[in-house]
């Protein structure tokens, strides 16, 4: 992975000093809160319901064990012993004091980490494929480009005060695993018929109040030109994006208002000035950066491991884990392993300091000391020998990170919601817990198979609800929390925005509504068909009809079906932590 050179270190150190001074001036009153707010947001520092939350960048989701251990230290020293991994491959700490944040930044800098541009109306941390470099379908490794993009976006002087936040995602596989269609700019690495490397560029995707998929603005930008090309896009946006209405300020609204042809024309006209200019990437720079992402020293191994096959045959739990959490690798005898942070009863994406340390330890033992944060809020060890899988499974199990539920219903994406976030309409973590508890039956989950359940506590859609196969969105009606349910959303190559099925549900009704959606799926599915495929084939109507056919009682606890019986005496009265409710 990328290691800082002297210059990166120097810039990071100067940033620590700059931020420390900003905090000092805030505390002394020299800086007013409304001036400081913008500065702290550009550093990922939010004032939440209870305390300050700090979002630390994990550029394109790639991290080493020393950096992971630093997170564990921060969790222990400054927070309440845990952290939260996010859909943008970052980590957040929820219980911080403003006075401590300069020290935290200084500690992060010692291991090459920072919080630059993890929030605010600027170019945000770049996300990518958690299987970059190891995926079998990879066309070109996107990481060197992601790193060059990271450097270009870092403290870009012209684009620090854009109309609204601006997110890049970059993917290098045939399958898009970086949700590029829902980013302001989505880049996928492609080869043209001559075999040259370039980027297909999507623009104007985004979630939030008006979810939209990105539109192709250019089918092939040669890699040397990608930086000047995206610069042209951002420059057009900085000048013409709306600044009068927060909800209409994203680039997607500009692209829609102008139409993609006109927007493209403006970008191309702008690009004529910088194309072939000094911003053009050089082979030497690509080579320098790419040298940081060379393959580790893989051993020559047989493609299968006899011990693994043996245990798989006799141990159901291990077999389930292999099936769900172990992913293919381009090198024979290796696998990528997902450490699940979606254990029932735990907020999706949360990890304790012990787990973070344990994950670092597992990375050192089994995966060349590196990890990835996935946008599904799990951890990935990308380079594990198959012969190590049993040892890894045992260790991961001991630390509660081997729940065999990757891509299953309980592998939910969930935002912090009303328990932490000041913007929320509704709680999402307790609802995730209620849903996980209701469907906490492995056979059932495995039978339902691949499904993405995404939940957000408000329109901002940090939990990607609009691209969930099932999406749950917290809405406010007369000051109380309600949830809209949508189906048919998807990320990846067949990205789609889900459609709301109808009237909103109360907190207690949501698990039953999901149950009913699943019942329709089980009734209608063809062999091998995933939930999303069934929705696409038969449409929304049958689902909608069944869900609303009979009222869902507020305290629905049994429904008489074989699925998801609720243990007697369990209710969904999860405590309200938040003073907002």
């Amino acid at each position: 992975m990328y290691r800082y050179d002297q210059i990166d270190h120097q810039i990071a150190a100067e940033r620590v000093a700059q931020y420390g001074d900003q905090v000092r001036r805030r505390l002394s009153g020299e800086l007013a809160e409304d001036e400081f707010r913008i500065l702290r947001l550009q550093n990922g520092l939010y004032m939440q319901v209870h305390a300050y939350m700090l979002r630390i960048a994990v550029p394109y989701g790639l991290i080493n064990s020393a950096q992971m251990r630093k997170f564990a230290q921060i969790a222990r020293k400054y927070d309440r012993g845990y952290g939260h991994f996010t859909t943008r491959q970052n980590i957040q700490f929820n219980w911080l004091k403003l006075e401590d944040t300069p020290d935290i930044l200084a500690e992060l800098a010692t291991v090459g980490l920072h919080c630059n541009q993890t929030s605010g109306n600027c170019m945000r941390n770049i996300t990518s494929d958690e299987y970059a470099g190891v995926a079998r379908d990879e066309i070109v490794d996107p990481r060197p480009y992601a790193e060059m993009l990271r450097q270009w976006t870092t403290f870009h002087p012209e684009f620090a005060y854009l109309p609204r936040k601006f997110k890049f995602a970059i993917s290098g596989g045939e399958q898009d695993r970086a949700a590029i269609a829902v980013h302001d700019i989505g880049l996928s690495v492609v080869r043209n018929p001559q075999g040259e490397v370039g980027f297909r560029v999507l623009v104007g995707g985004g979630l939030g109040r008006t979810p939209m998929l990105g539109t192709e603005i250019c089918g092939f930008v040669p890699w040397q030109h990608v930086m000047t090309y995206v610069e042209s896009i951002v420059r057009v946006y900085n000048q013409h994006g709306r600044r009068d209405n927060l909800y209409k300020a994203r680039i997607k609204i500009l692209v829609k208002a102008l139409g993609i042809e006109e927007f493209r024309r403006q970008v191309e006209a702008e690009w004529q000035h910088s194309k072939d200019g000094p911003g053009t990437l050089t082979q030497a720079e690509l080579d320098r950066v790419a040298a940081h992402f060379t393959a580790p020293a893989y051993a020559t191994l047989p493609p299968h491991d006899a011990g693994v096959a043996e245990l798989q045959a006799e141990n159901k739990a291990f077999a389930n884990w292999l099936q769900r959490n172990v992913k293919p690798h381009k090198i024979p005898g290796y696998a990528a392993v997902v450490l699940s942070l979606k254990k029932t009863g735990v907020a999706p994406g949360d990890a304790t300091a012990q787990q973070i340390d344990a994950a670092a330890e597992l990375a050192d033992r089994f995966s060349f000391g590196e990890l990835r944060i996935s946008h599904m809020q799990n951890l990935v060890l990308a380079d594990v020998k198959k012969s190590d899988l049993i040892a890894l499974w045992e260790a991961a199990t001991a630390h509660g990170m081997a729940t065999p539920n990757i891509n299953l219903l309980t592998d939910m994406i969930c935002c912090p919601g009303g328990d932490f976030c000041a913007l929320a309409n509704a709680r999402s973590i307790p609802l995730a817990k209620a849903i996980a508890e209701r469907f906490d039956r492995l056979d059932f989950l495995h039978d339902i198979g691949d499904i993405e359940l995404n939940m957000s506590g408000c329109m901002n859609a940090c939990g990607h609800n609009s691209v969930g196969h099932i999406g749950v969105l917290g809405v406010d009606k007369d000051g109380s929390e309600w949830y809209q349910v949508s189906i048919g959303g998807a990320q990846g190559n067949d990205a789609a925005i889900g459609k709301v099925i109808g009237r909103a549900f109360s907190f207690q009704q949501v698990p039953e509504a999901i149950e009913r959606l699943l019942q329709v799926y089980v009734r209608e599915r063809l062999a091998g068909e995933r939930f999303i495929d069934t929705v696409r084939r038969i449409g929304h109507e049958p689902f909608k009809e069944f869900v609303y056919a009979t009222p869902i009682a507020e305290n629905e606890s049994l429904n008489g079906e074989a699925y998801a019986l609720l243990p007697k005496g369990v209710s969904y009265d999860t405590p309200f932590y938040s003073p907002r409710f």
């Binding site: 050179d5 001036e35 450097q151 270009w152 403290f155 002087p157 012209e158 620090a160 000048q239 600044r243």
Partner: protein, 172 residues
């Protein structure tokens, strides 16, 4: 009044003319002396103002630098107004004036100009700053030195870092 110019606090004689928004541009009275007039006033009073020995013009954040493209040599100062420091359009205006239209004269940031934005402003081509009146100008000056190295090209650096410097190679 003092301003920051060429990285120093210096006295300044220019007056920034800010007529009431409802005042018709052609009727605004431009006093004698060193005055920085709004773009609209310049456009409306071209004939009269054009003969002045020294004139400045300022652009609002929603105005376009192309508006003065062909007449840059007429101005001793061009200023760009930041109505709120979060309005980032002025950065692109400055960048275009410097790098695309070749403006070499004084480029001044006015309005909600604060210490923590000065470094970026300097990078896109501003060389003069009028920090907000309630702030300490000497404190604001420090903002210009926040970083000693940068990644990108802009108005201050023709080349991005990777073309300027031989960076250390990583040897695994």
């Amino acid at each position: 009044m003092d301003i920051i110019k060429n990285k120093a606090v210096v006295p300044d004689e220019w007056t920034i003319l800010r007529p009431a928004p409802d005042e018709a541009a052609e009727r605004v009275v431009v006093p004698a002396g060193k005055v920085i007039v709004p773009l609209k006033v310049w456009q409306a009073q071209h004939a009269g103002l054009g003969s002045r020995a020294e004139l400045g013009v300022w652009l609002a954040s929603d105005e376009r630098p192309e508006a003065v493209q062909g007449e840059l040599e007429k101005f001793a100062v061009i200023a760009v107004d930041f109505p709120r420091f979060t309005d980032g359009r002025g950065y692109t205006i400055a960048y275009l004036l410097r790098t695309r239209f070749g403006y070499r004269g004084e480029l001044r940031a006015i309005g909600d100009v604060l210490r923590d934005q000065l470094f970026y402003m300097q990078r896109v081509g501003f060389d003069a700053f009028v920090p907000r009146a309630d702030k300490d100008i000497h404190d604001a000056l420090k903002g210009l030195g926040d970083f000693s190295e940068v990644y990108q090209a802009s108005a201050d650096r023709e080349l991005p870092l990777f073309r300027r410097v031989q960076r250390e190679a990583w040897l695994a």
